[in-house]
Symmetry: none
Subunit: 208 residues, 4 copies
DNA sequence: TATGAATGAGGATTCATTCAT
DNA sequence: TATGAATGAATCCTCATTCAT
């Protein structure tokens, strides 16, 4: 959850930065459309009307491009979600904000999220990020949130925060294929339902 | 949920049936091991010590093989899970049985489940099953269970059964990568936690 | 210098054996013609009128093919040269036989030798054979011959067998590019001259 | 053997001359390190911290650059070797000086020599110099030396100077890969041994 | 039934080169 | 002078599929 900055990034021209972003964006759309395995350099390049070689020119390899895809998508997601969580003060409020802002972001940036999920799910994608923190972070940060406020007494004390975090992330990510396939899928309703479900699953029990 | 037999299946010799089952089993293990994209005919054939061509001989294409993989895996899962659900009489009991038997089956047949999830998640796999019922069935059957007993007053009346079914399936399927990657993952504990969480999320509210 | 046999060679069909030999032969000619770097699968395949993929089908990679090229060429060379050396009884006789039979073989199998030298000289080729014995053997075997008969008093005692072996091999291999480029190059005359030169360079000094 | 200047060389600014020399030097080191095939413009440019394009700007093509590499290396070698030969008065003295100064230069300018040999050996390199005099010169000059003093009665009359020159050059050049690969290779000892060997091979026979 | 031979498309990547700036 | 952006050809390799045997 550390803010984006990496000290040793190579300096880049304006044009290069633009091209890289453009290619990353095209990669995101291509992955969302054709899946991770279907997102060949050829298809990405075709979408932009550039040569395959140019992608290799700007990225040191397929793995590099994929990493940038995830990085870019993750940064955007964090920028969207974090303030909405921090605007809340209670654990349950934050949990609801977490779920709803995650899904709201997904609704507004379908492809970003579809691409991330697609990458995370593919075996090759997991190989690229083997040992990388960025990916597991999503679950871990949520787990911390849960266990923190559980200790503070704002959540039911007898659930396993790790398991609960997995379940919540799974429910969020499950929206992704529906978004992609079902044009009538109502994501804000989905968000409300999920938030309520996990509110009930985590609240301190009401009877003494 | 109709039992395996389709009317227009071609007649098969004993040997052919055996070979097909053998190849499907090898495909399951290969997918579980190397991922969907990594499960080439070459690798599957190598595992069995047969020629690549033989797979093409027995299956009309890769899509056909994948369909059989899912079919075979799904049949086994149903055979395991259904009686355990039907042994229960109440809605909450059935829900708990659904969750726990699903995860128990996953624990005992890792590869079957990993393969199914791997296929369901891959874009190419989804393309193969586009419009196919087998895959959506898992969610739909659960949804029927929920809405049936919701009508009967055994579940909280104000949740959307479709959304809840998605969330439950997602939580169950999320166990798959953990099973594959984390050898210390305790699936029976995970099952208990998930069952409890969704029990709380679906029970009729206790306060008037 | 151990005879060809490798115990664990995979069994091969008649056709496969033939194809492999054919491809190796085409590779030899292509290397001789276009150099190591110029011997792409495409060019080799084109020469045979087969597809590029077929070469990949029969050989596990470029390195594998190159190894077979060297192996095949080396076996033929050994089969030609060894009996001619062993037919001699004295050190000087063997040395002359070594030089002359090497060069005679080169004259009769230009491409074989050109290919071997080309491979041995290219950086990539050396990478493939890094640590391999087959290649250094040529110098080492000669060195043993020299030092053996030097000890026996049949060669001048005060030369370094290793250095001398290098020089002799170099003189032999130097014929290769001439063979390739100069159609008028008289290799048997070259052989005689070289044999004489190194006879003089290695004989026990005639004056007491 | 004509001194460097060609009449129709284009005029060059100081900077251009410096850059060209710098690039040629980098090319030499790169070839020595990565082999001829491995010496791409990319690697050469990287070593200097300049752009690939700049090399294309200064040289009309890869062939041009390679020619300059050989030219520059050859000039340096000649400047080192010639005076050492001319300091001798007898044929055998000159031959020994030729061999020893060649090898001494190689010891002191490994990369120069390795690069030259690497180029001369590669098929692509030979293609570039097809019909070029610079390369054959090395052999031809030595051949003149041998035949001149042979006529003068200072060398054995019955050897073929052309063949002998080839053998001597080959022995000298054979040191190059050893220099590159074997850090313990003792080149001055090698030089002495070779010089002695060819002294014996070329001297007028001592017995009437 | 099963094999092994063969294809051809498509994969990422590297390369020398060109050109506007 | 020099750069950096871009190209297109060429590299090896893997894949699913076909077909004669």
């Amino acid at each position: 959850m550390q803010p984006g900055a990496a000290a040793d990034e190579p300096e880049r021209t304006f044009i290069e930065t633009a091209r890289r972003a453009q290619i990353v964006a095209a990669a995101i759309d291509t992955i969302a459309e054709a899946g991770f395995a279907g997102a060949s350099f050829a298809r990405i390049a075709e979408r932009l009307g550039i040569s395959r070689g140019l992608i290799s020119y700007h990225f040191s390899g397929k793995g590099d491009l994929i990493k940038q895809v995830v990085h870019q998508a993750a940064e955007q997601a964090k920028a969207y979600i974090r303030p909405r969580i921090l605007a809340e003060s209670t654990g349950p409020g934050m949990l609801r904000a977490y779920i709803e802002s995650n899904l709201a972001f997904m609704g507004e940036h379908r492809n970003n999220v579809i691409a991330m999920v697609e990458i995370a799910r593919s075996a090759e994608g997991r190989r690229i990020f083997y040992g990388d923190t960025d990916v597991v972070d999503a679950v871990r940060a949520l787990e911390h949130l849960l266990s923190g406020f559980q200790t503070a007494g704002q959540f039911r004390p007898d659930f396993n925060p790790h398991v609960m975090a997995i379940a919540i992330r799974a429910a969020i990510e499950a929206a992704s294929p529906r978004l992609a396939l079902d044009p009538e899928f109502d994501i804000s309703n989905y968000a409300r339902e999920i938030a309520t479900a996990f509110h009930l699953a985590t609240r301190v029990s009401d009877t003494p």
